[in-house]
Amino acid sequence: MKNLKYYRDRYVRRQPSAFCPGCGGGIILNCFVRAIDDLGLDKDKILAVSGIGCSAWIPSPNFNGDTLHTTHGRAIAFATGAKTFNPELTTVVFVGDGDGAGIGGNHLIHAARRNIDLTVILVNNMSYAMTGGQIAPTTLHGETTVTSPYGNPESPFDITQLVRAAGASYVAKWSTYHVVELTRSIKEAIEHKGFSFIEVLSQCPTQQRRIFNLRGPVDSLPPRILDMFSESTVVKDRPEKGGYVYAVPKTSSEETLKQVKAMDDVEARIVDHMIHGRVVRVDTKLPDMVCGKLLELGSVSDVKDHLEEKIELGVFEKKTRPEFTDALREIIRKARCD
């Protein structure tokens, strides 16, 4: 078992972290360095490219290897030049959701179409966090941000499905709660020949406090948001144990909790859910029967099935098709034979 010092000494430039307390960026850096360490890669042959935004600071200057910290949205295009010219470079691109799917969305889909051998990690905190938490192409409908004070009129991209449709040959989605799965996916993505893409839902205590209307002390937020990611997601092809529903309170979740706890054969607690908000999770062996009873409680406005509106995580694509840097080398061979 390697300790944190081992990873820090080998892979992290020593300096104070620029991240807000509780940021998901550190978790993703941690997963990245563990992945490259597990793979036994030569650090001198790894290039970490990033754009502009909080995600860009994960590798630059933290990663103690070659880094290319570029302009907003363009990281994948910069990486395309470096990787095509020197395919020996294991090239990992860190982009944000605004960075990668907003201003840089065109580069993202075209890199997927080319199936160029890059690994793109898209850090999705569901807002433009560094600039103050404005609406991003990933912000959920109706959510409150500084530029959607009356609720977001837009709806988000499903980025993984977008990139998959554009032709990416490895596509996965995780959250910062799922560190083991994420580390494994980064390893698979780096080893995969072709365009590999991992979306990571990441916590931003600074901006998601407003977006998800999370009340309470700031230092309670990071674990709460991680729990929220766990509560709001379901892992593809993994059996979901079920046996619970969510009671959506009319007003106070505390009042609903009190009423639910008075019922027989249930366990209840307040949880944060990305879609349903602050709700009472009701664990029971008899969900169907409990549903009806919950709706009869005066404080409950709605009851949601445990899988309703959960975000699916997992590996969505793993296939082989012609890769761009190889195709370019094939062109050189052809041209020289003519």
Binding site: R74, G81, A82, F85, R336
Partner: protein, 375 residues
């Protein structure tokens, strides 16, 4: 590639040929008239020398991938025209901030916007100088012939490598789309970027009087921090005023101090001239024609042609103003360079403008008329 010797060829093809001989091994393109033939020729020829042609999704991506390739060790290039040039501006600033050698060809067309899409102009010369945000110093060269599309492309690469900076070849639709004689030399002189000799060398600062730090490539074990953010000499992001001042002044001075070496002026009949025609690129062709005709008519006219437009050879222009009575600035725009010339000349000689828009060259007789009026 064309064999050494004489050919009748297109300016854009000559540019591509020059690039390949200068060592260009990465080219990113996006289709645009009147620059596309550069891409066509490169796409066909660059793989034969082991290089890569990549067609990107837009011009923003083209210049971005060129910068990425340059840091991976390539001599890299892109070519475009006005609309694409506008899209590239942000990353041109990035290339200046990161001191990335590259060559950017702008075969200028008539704008603003789509304008006269296929027709020539010289309207982007100030955009070349000031187009990106922030303070930086550019090198821009301006060919007037098919031969110079070759020669100045080679020089653009050598300047980029020498000074570790983006260099612009500001061509125009006339020289890009013109066919005339090109002599391909047996051998061209090629400069390569200075590499560091030890891990202690930083690419972000230098004691060398040139002000040009050495440049390693990705994958060579330097744990490079390449960033468009203000950075310390070790590359780490730091927004302190002194670090920003260090970067802005050193990258400016490395160009300005080398101006006498970068300077490239073509002079004709200036020894006893009373009227100088100052021009560049295609508009220098009717200017030269007018100078020759004026001489035939007994008017002491001469040509002062800028083959390097930026940095402007201010001392040479001042010396010219000391010598002649009048300077006529001929350009294919609404009158841009003339303002720079007025600033530099500062009243020492009369400065007149012959500026033409509309996607057409000034005519030799129009220039001659002005020269005679000034004589």
């Amino acid at each position: 590639m064309l064999e050494p010797g004489r050919h009748l060829t297109l300016g854009n093809v000559a540019c591509a040929e020059g690039a390949l001989r200068a060592g260009c091994r990465f080219f990113a393109g996006y289709p645009i008239t009147p620059a596309s033939e550069i891409s066509h020729h490169i796409a066909a020829e660059i793989p034969k020398v082991g290089g890569l042609y990549v067609q990107m999704e837009d011009e923003i991506a083209s210049i971005a991938s060129v910068i990425g390739a340059s840091w991976a060790g390539a001599k890299a290039m892109t070519a475009t025209s006005g609309p694409g040039f506008s899209l590239m501006q942000e990353n041109i600033g990035y290339a200046h901030m990161t001191e990335t050698p590259l060559v950017l060809v702008n075969v200028q067309r008539s704008g603003p916007s789509t304008g006269q899409a296929t027709d020539p102009s010289q309207q982007d010369i100030m955009q070349a100088r000031y187009g990106s945000h922030g303070d930086y110093e550019v090198i821009a060269v301006t060919p007037w012939s098919v031969q110079e599309m070759f020669d100045l492309t080679v020089r653009a690469f050598n300047l980029a490598e020498t000074y570790r900076t983006p260099v612009m070849l500001m061509a125009d639709g006339v020289v890009g789309h013109m066919k005339e004689k090109l002599t391909v030399p047996e051998k061209v002189d090629v400069v390569d970027r200075r590499k560091p000799t030890s891990r202690e060398d930083t690419p972000w600062g230098t004691d060398d009087p040139s002000g040009v730090p050495p440049m390693p490539a990705f994958g060579e074990g330097y744990a490079l921090l390449v960033t468009g953010s203000t950075h310390r000499p070790d590359g780490v992001r730091n927004y302190a005023p002194e670090y920003h001042q260090m970067i802005v002044y050193r990258t400016r001075d490395k160009i300005l101090n080398a101006e006498p070496k970068i300077r490239d002026i073509h002079r004709e009949h200036l020894d006893d001239a009373r009227v100088a025609v100052l021009s560049f690129g295609a508009s220098a062709r009717p200017s030269y024609d007018a100078v020759v005709k004026a001489r035939e008519q007994g008017v002491k006219a001469g040509l002062f042609r800028l083959r390097t437009l930026w940095p402007l050879p201010e001392n040479e222009i001042r010396a010219l103003a000391d010598q002649v009575d009048a300077i006529l600035v001929v350009e294919m725009n609404v009158g841009k360079l003339v303002k720079e010339v007025e600033r530099v000349v500062c009243g020492k000689a009369k400065v007149a403008s012959l500026a033409k828009v509309g996607g057409v060259l000034p005519l030799g007789r129009e220039v001659l008329e002005e020269v005679r009026r000034l004589a």
